[in-house]
Symmetry: C4
């Protein structure tokens, strides 16, 4: 199901940015959220304190990227993330995209190579199309000097990993989307949980994938038989 | 003693879900709380953002599990945790059950085998029926693809571990209950503290049970007899 | 200087308990604060949720420990910490005492033997009577089955360590005091910072005391010469 | 661009101190912020609880350091950080300076020698004058018994490291500034993120500078040439 129509997307973005800031996703003016509804895209300006955005600071664009409404402050520019957000809108019909610089999202890109992988963690079920026994895979693209230069490799990763609702950016953060803002936020919370879990499992020296067990149905033999670690360090 | 009658259980659930969300127990729509009072069970719907639940989103059921009151939104379904919550209501006469996905609760299930164990930590005294020198044991059941399939193994764990007020679920989280919401919440805070302590002790390389010391003024003879570490890694 | 007279100590305790709960000092009904003013001692009941205390839940006692005012709820009992709080009131003329179960306070008692020690950390200067180059020492007493049984060993530790404004309790937490509530809270924040720092330094494998340097004035030679670790593991 | 004129700098300081306290930057009365506007410098008193400052507690000084307005409480003294704040005002024309005792800021000074260094982390771009492939360098000066004695070595570090907008103080914390309060706060969030990242990378055993890879589509030739770890432990 889609979440109900949002009465005031700009007001919701203001509220969510405060929440994301408190969670460490959008500090230092980085990160943010864009919402698409009824052919209109709501977007924060570049380089502003996300927890202090006002509704009047937001841009409204059409789906082609043309600015329909400018913020009141004339010196602002649209977020450098715009082409990245539009990738998810166009290629996945997303209703909302969240960009996070959360530390665990950045740190997992140092522990994995081409893609982050994990399986058999309950929170995987929070990602659309994934069950508990599925392998969750999130592609990791290499960072670039300018955020806009990520657009092509992100688009390629989206094409190459059709089951993923997120793209990690090495030494940078992550883009996460969903069909509407509720799913995008749920996805973001689940992915962040899994990234954090993987970092902590690496610290504890436990593998992110459990050892193979002889009987998957009963799941009684908890003893590990072969626990090849899931992460090859970069 | 039982906590005083709750004037409005639905309102309390809304408030506690916000608190649990801030503590990292119920992110990504996972986890939650159910309260039983006067033969009525208050329950959140499945897959909703727990920190944004409204009173009108809650189900009211009878003790047989029949829905008495539906949320206003017709597309909602009762939480998949319902059979798990009812295990604690029926088998332990619980007044409230909390389900948490908190990271430390999940991580301890990777460090222990059949059961989590610890002793001689002050917070153990917060768990009904336990003193400082007692061994606190929490059974760990294996996770399943569908949450409802946990019901039987949880019921068996409740029967097998009559002193425990909680059941951990491997790679998933924990169910914790109490005679009323105050005790369930107190239990939940103490268990989470102990899980977190065990994870941090594993990182620091210290055992969760203290070694016996030859000269020890303060410690009585009830101290642990051997310093074998309590956790065999899975 | 002493902090100004508190208009309403009960109201301040309610406010501080909420703050301490948010900081992880008083979860699971453990921990708390007691304030002494004008011969009256304000104290929370035993086993209550500290972030939800109301002013009417508090006891008022005289300096001999006699109850002057009872909470409205008749089933409550005074906090089991009372004799411990009174130790600091009587032996140190404290104006307030904070008892915390914060995880770092508990964890440092697993890393040190008879006493926690550190030196050359700026936050040491926040503890009355200590400069940057002083060694901060906090005695660690062994925990007991019943909190009241800590009173004698705590009194002995207070006598044996006259420079300390705190006593750690192994596998339990810490008692911290000050001449008034402002100093007690400042001490508590500084001690907690130092405990947390010591835990993190242990994880990073760096010593809590810096290596000896040839010239202390210029402090230019940062290279360690002999960094015997400050903590003998228990 | 400069941030717009602040209507009430004292009120903003009160608000920011509460935010910084919640983030762990100014606990135990340590740390703080000073704002300079129109030739007037707003400064907190020494040794006060930063999350409880009122506007009437602040000093107003001129740019020569003469007190123009005293707080209402006569027993207060200006913050011991004053000469440090003035270093940034005078030598860098800063509009605001933040002093933080955040644990990661202190911890990185234990992992690095003369200066903290990192490169190829997205948050580096939040520091004025720095791109993703630049090496971010923050000088580390040695702590002294009295805060005011840091003034000369801080001034020297500012002269020696003209690209840095921050000076770390070993076993103490960090001073961070910007052309106005918005940039100072953005810088502070980015620096703290990078310090925290470096501490966590040290724990995970990954270098703060990436190794060169032979086949790397996304990374240009500016990538690091050798994977020698950036931190020599002190």
């Amino acid at each position: 199901m889609r979440a109900p129509q949002i009465a005031n997307p700009a007001s919701l973005i203001v509220e969510l940015c405060q929440q994301f800031y408190a969670q460490g996703w959008v500090s230092g003016t980085g990160g943010g959220i864009s919402i698409r509804q009824d052919g209109r895209v709501y977007l924060a300006p570049s380089g502003v304190q996300k927890e202090r955005i006002a509704e009047s600071d937001l841009y409204v664009l059409d789906e082609a990227g043309t600015i329909l409404e400018h913020p009141q402050q004339p010196e602002l520019r649209p977020s450098a993330c715009q082409p990245l957000f539009y990738n998810a809108f166009r290629l996945r019909d997303a209703g909302a995209v969240i960009h996070s610089h959360a530390l665990p999202a950045m740190l997992v890109t140092l522990l994995y190579g081409e893609a982050f992988e994990c399986t058999q963690l309950e929170m995987i079920k929070g990602i659309e199309g994934h069950g508990y026994y599925d392998k969750l895979v999130v592609p990791i693209i290499e960072n670039t000097a300018h955020e806009c230069d990520l657009a092509d490799s992100m688009a390629k990763a989206i094409a190459d990993y059709p089951s993923s609702h997120a793209v990690l950016v090495r030494r940078h953060g992550v883009y996460i989307w969903g069909r509407d803002w509720v799913q995008a936020k749920t996805h973001a919370e689940c992915y962040h949980y899994l990234f954090d879990a993987a970092v902590q499992m690496a610290r504890l020296g436990v593998a992110t994938a459990p050892a193979r067990r002889s009987t998957d149905a009963g799941l009684t033999s908890a003893a590990a038989s072969s626990a090849t670690t899931a992460h090859g360090r970069v």
